[in-house]
Amino acid sequence: MSTVPVHLTVNGQRHELQVEPRLLLVHLLRENLGLTGTHVGCDTTNCGACTVHLDGESVKSCTVLAVQADGAEVKTIEGMADGDKLHPLQEAFWADHGLQCGYCTPGMIMAAADLLARNPTPTEDEVRHGLEGNLCRCTGYHNIVRAVQDAAQAMSGGTAVGSQEVSA
């Protein structure tokens, strides 16, 4: 199979690769770059487990070809924390029990980050509709919605996220 060159920046790091033209972006991230935090759940753009940011907007990377990301900036879940400092969404998902098996979580957090970038103070209804493209089978979404609202509050300078106890 012939290959084509792809240049892209992922989580701030530049990469140059030769890939099959049909290679999916998610497989480039996972298998060529070893960034396995981005998951695949459905292959049909329904579940959103593969959500990453492409030039600042959330996309489902299982239906983006790697060559379509040529020249682009990609951000994945691995790029969300600042060193040891978690992103407010990561903090909120932890504090609010917004995850159980964790498989949908990276995509859910990336989709939520995009939502908050567009709408920093969403209502519950806006969060629910904003995350319509991301499926979770474990949580019933209740705590995910709370986490996104708590993160929104923290990011806009409100009180610290989370109402649960933190063990010592």
Binding site: E20, R22, H27, R30, E31, G34, L35, T36, G37, T38, H39, G41, C42, D43, T44, N46, C47, A49, T76, E78, M80, A81, L86, Q90, F93, W94, A95, H97, L99, Q100, C101, G102, Y103, T105, P106, I109, E124, V127, R128, L131, E132, G133, N134, L135, C136, R137, C138, T139, G140, Y141, H142, N143, I144, V145, G162, Q164, E165, V166, S167, A168
Partner: protein, 785 residues
């Protein structure tokens, strides 16, 4: 065993601690099967039948084998050295069950769409999929049967010639003279209640990676049951269990789907041995919808008798259960599992359940979250609303009148099982503290049909006392006990090995709380290991809401054994009587002298450097426990659901959902609420959106998430949850399960609410799924203005 007070540790049990599991999962550092990469790995792709029922005339793999990078193409003949077919391990007690031979790759004929016929193994992930397309299989189609009632007709196509009909088994339980009891009833309510086929649909599909090194086969699998998988691999591939190591790493949801021994796991293991290269297979979602087992799919003919005053007199359910084409691990057991709690929370003197298992040309059904019990609750709770209508009686009044009273527990039912503890009036009272039905009706929006539904449920879980419920299937006997090892390290850290195998439930957090309280350390100092058959003793894995009630209890017992040893060491070192040593604020002290004491780390150091231990005491600080319960546990609760229905479109909106559950003593309320939310939504999904659909030719219509509608955040409300606490006497933690409770309770609450809403439109009964089209049609047929 009697209920005892939780030990006085640091009080971590009962606290809503956030999870130890999460830091890795929220940063993308979890390690799921697909994330594990071994050098030299070959990829596997399945060649699956497009026919629902056909003879295999020929398989031509020549073109596939010529493709670059293809290493092997395997068919059933290549795997003729397998020692046993895929297992069916549990049958209903006493039932005679006809089980067809079921090999990982089809032998001579295919019986459902997706039946694997061959596998292609090669160097490249995309390349093996291309090559699988090149395998040419010639089929001679056979007549197809997909309808369970049709499948029992004498002229129906027979799927398994060796069995001679499509009936797999019959199983009856109950007690009393049914005919007399119905004759003595003032009202007899009869309904045909369909509980349609669904998919577990965890967001992580299945996958397996197998590697053979120096005669030791290691299998990483997306499984809920690593210990069972190890056992059955040994039985099927040969050799004893210790030559196999099964690892369930991070598992992305299970919901019963991954409580199974699947063909692909066996084929990958077999091929890794033969080819001496690691073999990896990752399921696509389309494959998942087709060949990861389904759930439910029962038709029940329900008959409930009552006196005019609402006193229940008799109950009978005749259940036709769709097995699918083959029996998988627990297929024939599932409907009977519900059969034991079919009369729910009510005192009914005469009860009978008759189950008939039926083969069809569809994929197998098996355990999906609740496994038989959601069907049972749906049946009795919907039937009670229907009966209340016929009696002209308030449906909650009807329920209250027939509840098993608090003082009647432990309560032996006519099905011959004993409910451990309960307070059904208590949960309903608590529900109504949160829920003012009259107000909800007053506040109904104009132009919508508003309905309110209830479900007061119990379930049977915490599998299980082996003698009551042991596996009786083919080729294997195992128990239902659970293991734990607790090890305190020299530096004071603690490792807990549990034989249960979580996939999102939060065992690492909850077991940490249980053990920390008993040893006097912080939960963060406790590392909980699971899902690796080489790390701990034999375990019995995770399903049937058993982990905490059986596995958590086992961990507690092991920790208590260590606590006793700690006390004796401290007493010896501090020269005080053993009975005066107590745990206080994370320290073992002499009662009344908090300044005099030892930390767990100091005790462990003393135990590992045995210069000053009591006479005859072994060094080190480690204990194990193998614990078998005497009875199941029976969580229960009361749920209320409010729906608004758009008359013009038939769309049902759940506007409010209140759940009051009782799972005994709470270990971590955060985890309990999370399980309830997810469980309730699983059932709302079945009630309103989800259905696995096959057409008459046995073709799967709902082959992806485009057609199989999981609920999204946009279709759901936030939930209100509360609890009552009725400790279970079945284990000394006093806990009951909560993983399946929401799913077991909720479909009836939603369905009763929808029927309630549709009454003004002349609709008195509806089966799920309550999709807009079906609801709209019902409104039209009901003659609504």
């Amino acid at each position: 065993m009697s209920t005892t007070e939780a030990p006085a540790g640091n009080g971590h049990v009962g606290r809503a601690l956030r999870r130890k599991e999460d830091p890795r999962l929220i940063t993308g550092r979890g390690s799921y099967v697909e994330d594990i990469i071994l050098p030299g790995t070959l990829w596997m792709a399945m060649v699956r039948s497009p026919e629902a029922h056909a003879r295999i005339v020929s398989i031509d793999a020549s073109a596939a084998k010529e493709r670059e990078g293809v290493v092997a193409v395997l068919t059933n003949e290549d795997m003729a050295d397998l020692l046993a077919p895929l297992p069916m391990a549990w049958v209903p007690p006493g039932a005679e069950v006809s089980t067809p031979e079921h090999w990982p790759l089809a032998k001579g004929k295919v019986c459902h769409v997706g039946d694997p016929v061959a596998v292609v193994i090669g160097e490249d992930r995309y390349g093996v999929v291309d090559a699988a397309e090149d395998v040419v299989v010639e089929y001679e189609p056979l007549p197809v049967v997909t309808d369970i009632e049709r499948a029992l007709d004498s002229d129906a196509p027979v799927i398994h010639e060796g069995i001679g009909s499509n009936k797999s088994h019959e199983h009856s339980v109950g007690g009393g003279d049914l005919e007399a009891a119905f004759a003595d009833s003032d009202v007899v309510m009869e309904r045909r209640i369909v509980n349609h086929r669904t998919s577990g649909a965890p967001i992580e599909c299945r996958g397996v990676l197998a590697e053979d090194r120096a005669g030791k086969l290691t299998i990483w699998s997306t499984t809920q049951v690593p210990h069972f998988l190890r056992l059955f691999l040994a039985i099927m591939l040969g050799g004893s269990e210790e030559r196999y190591r099964v690892i369930a790493p991070e598992v992305g949801g299970g919901f019963g789907t991954k409580l199974q021994i699947y063909a692909e796991e066996v084929i990958a293991a077999w091929a890794a041995k033969k080819l001496q290269r690691p073999i990896k297979w990752i399921e696509t979602r389309s494959e998942h919808m087709m060949t990861s087992h389904h759930g439910r799919d029962q038709i029940a003919y329900v008959k409930v008798g009552a006196k005019r005053d609402g006193t229940l007199t008799a109950f009978h359910a005749r259940i036709l259960a769709d097995m699918g084409a083959y029996h998988q691990l627990l297929t024939p057991l599932i409907p009977s599992l519900g059969g034991y709690v079919m009369t729910g929370v009510y005192k009914i003197p005469v009860v009978h359940t008759d189950v008939t298992g039926v083969f069809t040309n569809k994929f197998a059904t098996d355990a999906i979250r609740g496994a038989g019990r959601p069907e049972a609750t749906h049946m009795i709770e919907v039937a009670l609303d229907q009966l209340a209508d016929e009696l002209g009686m308030d449906r909650l009044e009807l329920r209250r009148k027939n509840f098993i009273a608090k003082e009647d527990f432990p309560y032996e039912t006519p099905y011959g099982i004993t409910y451990d503890s309960g307070d059904h009036h208590g949960t309903l009272d608590k529900l109504l503290e949160h829920f003012d039905e009259d107000a909800m009706r007053r506040e109904a929006p104009a132009g919508k049909l508003r309905g309110i539904g209830y479900s007061t449920y119990t379930e049977i879980c915490g599998l299980a006392p082996t003698r009551m419920f042991g596996p009786t299937g083919v080729g294997v006997q195992a128990g239902f006990w659970e293991s734990a090892v607790v090890r305190v390290h020299i530096t004071g850290g603690v490792t807990v090995f549990t034989g249960t195998s979580p996939h999102g439930q939060g065992h690492e957090t909850a077991w940490g709380q249980i053990v920390a309280d008993r040893l006097g350390c912080d939960p963060d100092a406790v590392t909980v290991l699971h899902g690796d058959t080489d790390q701990g003793p034999m375990g019995l894995d995770t399903y049937g809401s058993r982990s905490l009630a059986v596995g958590g209890t086992s961990a507690a017992i092991a920790a208590e054994r260590l606590a006793d040893k700690c006390k004796r060491i401290v007493a010896h070192q501090l020269e005080a009587p053993v009975e005066d040593i107590v745990l206080q604020d994370g320290k073992w002290i002499v009662r009344g002298s908090p300044d005099k004491g030892m930390t767990l780390g100091e005790v462990s150091m003393a135990a590992h450097v045995p210069t000053n231990l009591p006479e005859g005491m072994d060094p080190a600080l480690e204990a194990s426990s193998f614990w078998e319960p005497d009875n199941f546990v029976f969580p229960f609760g009361a749920h209320a659901c409010v729906v608004d229905i758009d008359r013009e479109t038939g769309k049902v909106e759940v506007v409010r959902y209140v759940a009051v559950d009782d799972c005994g003593n709470p270990i971590n309320p955060l985890l309990i609420d999370g399980q309830v939310h997810g469980g309730v939504v699983h059932a709302i999904g079945q009630a309103l959106f989800e259905q696995v659909v096959y057409d008459e030719a046995g073709q799967l219509v709902t082959g992806s998430f485009v057609d199989y509608a999981l609920p999204t955040a946009a279709e759901l409300p936030s939930f209100e949850t509360d609890r009552t606490v009725t400790p279970s006497p079945s284990n000394h933690l006093g806990v009951k399960g909560i993983g399946e409770a929401g799913t077991i309770a909720a479909s009836a609450a939603v369905t009763n609410a929808v029927i309630d809403a549709l009454r003004p439109a002349g609709v008195t009964y509806m089966d799920m799924p309550l999709t807009p089209l079906r609801v709209w049609q019902a409104i039209q047929e009901g003659g609504a203005s």
